[in-house]
């Protein structure tokens, strides 16, 4: 066994350990520890990714010396490693970009606790990405919920606590449904490891037994994870949470926390229930419908918002709709498009959230869109990178968002019943995206007389947004190469 194969497990345990460590050290030390940890995760996932590509197959890592049907396992393939790399890098950039705000908004004696929550969140994200055991997934879903709620309530205002409470209530409903799905799965298959469940599921599907429970399982897990990732009718916690959270928290919430649940859903469809079983199921049409509604309603809500952060939050809801629409198409192409959009959205949305903070700072912290007039002249780097992010969200060529919209449109052509609705909704949603994002871009670049006060948001902010913008453009230019990795990664799931 290669040493590299230990790295996913080390990464998860190191994140938990660093989280504990951060709670007892000084805030500077906690910050440096968190950056070190995230840097380690980025390097580790690249090494594992290289290893997996070289060997051409995924590997499982046994924990606790109990072999397959009994023990607990970690599994790493191309898709998992790439997601782990991308998510840790995004989290690192989001924390670096918003560090000034963290120091400003969190009480100075409690900054280290913010980083504790960030480390725990990272450990749960990595565990959800790598785990091969369904019950472990549930436990880390709850850790994810608790640490995300911790990140939301870092401001002392009553609004932040109320938003965190609302988030907790919605999340608990979602995880309860998810747990019910796991219990039912265990009940009819007798296994908790994903590979074993899949074999049992395939046998049950072939013999036609338990058809109703299997549908119920797919429904419970889809709806549970959809609630947790803020799909349209269940999105109500999201705008409040974003309204009161720190910028880094907003970027992490939108780009990572919600998306890791969608990653988990894709993983469950492939690795637990089995693609053949899912494909035949009518639940996919329900997901598709919710996705379509979310694409439209999220954009319409965003159009009506006057606060830029709330507008971006509603735009996230529309983007999550895209992903669920892709999953709901029920074809391999739709799934690939959805998987790519996870990365396109994460890179664009984290960038927009961080850059928005720079623009608002140039204006004394006023987040109303009308007040942002001309702020791009005062803070050029924030203006430029916000524009990159906005173009990616709209789907202009050479940016990441374009590739995913192109993928969704191509995928729609392979599902004859859904072509028209998908294409029409894509078109309407793109137009709405363009209206509300370009409206902001035009406003921040509108000429003002007093261009003097150039606000410098600091080196860390500039570095983070620049790297994110370059990453987004790279994802747009080399989109087809990334797609190849995703396709082979999804095959490894298979």
């Amino acid at each position: 066994m290669d040493f590299v194969q230990n790295l996913p497990f080390f990464g998860i345990v190191a994140a938990l350990f660093f989280g504990v460590l951060c709670s007892v050290v000084h805030r500077r030390a906690a910050e440096i520890l968190t950056y070190l940890l995230l840097g380690f995760e980025v390097v580790a996932s690249v090494l594992v990714l290289q290893f997996v590509i070289r060997t051409g197959s995924s590997f499982t890592y046994m924990m606790g010396h109990f072999p397959a049907p009994w023990g607990n396992e970690i599994r790493a393939g191309i898709f998992e490693c790439f997601t782990a790399f991308f998510f840790s890098a995004t989290m690192l950039l989001a924390l670096v970009g918003g560090r000034k705000h963290i120091y400003h908004e969190v009480e100075s004696t409690k900054v280290n606790l913010y980083y504790t929550m960030a480390c725990l969140l990272l450990s749960s994200i990595l565990a959800l990405i790598y785990t091969n055991d369904l019950f472990t997934a549930y436990v880390f879903v709850e850790i994810n919920t608790l640490s995300a709620a911790g990140l939301i309530m870092t401001k002392r205002s009553g609004k932040a606590i109320a938003a965190a409470t609302k988030y907790m209530v919605m999340s608990l409903l979602g995880s309860a449904l998810f747990l019910m799905g796991i219990c039912t799965t265990y009940d009819i298959t007798g296994h908790l490891l994903m590979s074993n469940i899949k074999e049992a599921m395939a046998a049950l599907h072939a013999s036609g037994q338990y058809a109703v429970p299997i549908s119920v399982i797919i429904g419970l897990m889809s709806i549970g994870l959809a609630i947790k990732s803020a799909l349209y009718p269940f999105h109500t916690w999201l705008p409040d949470a974003h309204g009161s959270a720190s910028v880094s928290t907003s970027a992490i919430l939108s780009a990572l926390v919600s998306e890791v649940y969608m990653f988990l859903l894709i993983k469950i469809f492939y690795r637990v229930i089995g693609w053949d079983v899912v494909q035949d199921n009518k639940i996919m049409n329900v997901l598709y419908l919710f996705g379509i509604i979310a694409m439209l309603m999220g954009s319409i809500h965003a159009l009506r918002e006057s606060d830029i952060k709330q507008m971006i939050a509603y735009s996230s809801i529309a983007q999550f709709g895209y992903i669920f629409m892709g999953i709901g198409l029920g074809t391999a192409f739709g799934m690939q498009a959805a998987a790519f959009h996870l990365f396109a959205h994460a890179s664009g949305k984290a960038l927009v959230f961080i850059a928005q903070a720079g623009l608002a700072d140039a204006n004394g912290g006023d987040r109303r869109i009308v007040a942002l007039k001309g702020t791009a002249h005062k803070n050029p780097i924030a203006g430029l990178t916000f524009t990159v992010g906005a173009f990616s969200m709209v789907g202009i060529p050479f940016f990441a968002g374009f590739i995913s919209k192109y993928n969704f449109a191509t995928a729609a052509l392979y599902s004859p019943n859904k072509i028209v609705i998908t294409l029409v909704t894509l078109a309407i949603s793109t137009v709405l995206n363009a209206i509300y994002f370009l409206r902001v871009v035009l406003r921040i670049y509108s000429p003002i007389e007093d261009k003097k006060p150039v606000i410098r948001s600091g080196f860390a902010f500039g570095l983070a947004v620049t790297v994110m913008a370059i990453g987004n453009i790279a994802l747009g230019v080399f989109g087809s190469n990334v797609m190849e990795y995703i396709i082979s990664g999804l095959k490894m799931f298979g």
């Binding site: 436990v139 608790l146 009553g158 907790m168 019910m180 265990y186 409040d240």
Partner: protein, 125 residues
């Protein structure tokens, strides 16, 4: 219909789960919401435990030197229930502490009223 009575534990568990779920979702009182959450989880544990039980077998603890697998019930659901209890205790603790903070600030347990007043007051302390 007969199926419901043959699987009495599962039926009861789902009813308890449903009561807890609707309370957590729809009740406006924070304390009742938390009670609903705990009921929901209890329903789930009852479901799991009843699925692990096999009629006429012993709890999986070796005392009389019987190591035959057929003498005992399935221990895994019990392990899952224990893990679940740990999770739900910590979640309840966090929810209760949030409720205390909210009550100190707004002097009410009604979540709708709290949300309304929180939105009005904006970002300040």
């Amino acid at each position: 219909m007969i199926g419901l009575f043959n699987n009495l534990e599962a039926t009861t568990a789902i009813i308890v789960f449903g009561i807890g779920f609707t309370t957590l979702m729809l009740n406006r009182n924070m304390i009742k919401k938390i009670i609903g959450f705990d009921m929901m989880d209890c329903g789930m544990y009852l479901f799991l435990a009843s699925k692990g039980y096999i009629e006429g077998r012993l709890a999986p603890i070796v005392v009389n030197g019987i190591t035959d697998m057929d003498a005992y019930i399935n221990p895994i659901p019990a392990g899952l229930v224990l893990t679940g209890i740990v999770v739900s205790v910590s979640v309840s603790a966090v929810m209760l502490s949030l409720t205390i903070r909210l009550y100190r600030k707004y002097h009410t347990l009604d979540i709708d009223e709290i949300m309304m007043r929180a939105r009005e007051e904006g970002d300040d302390e």
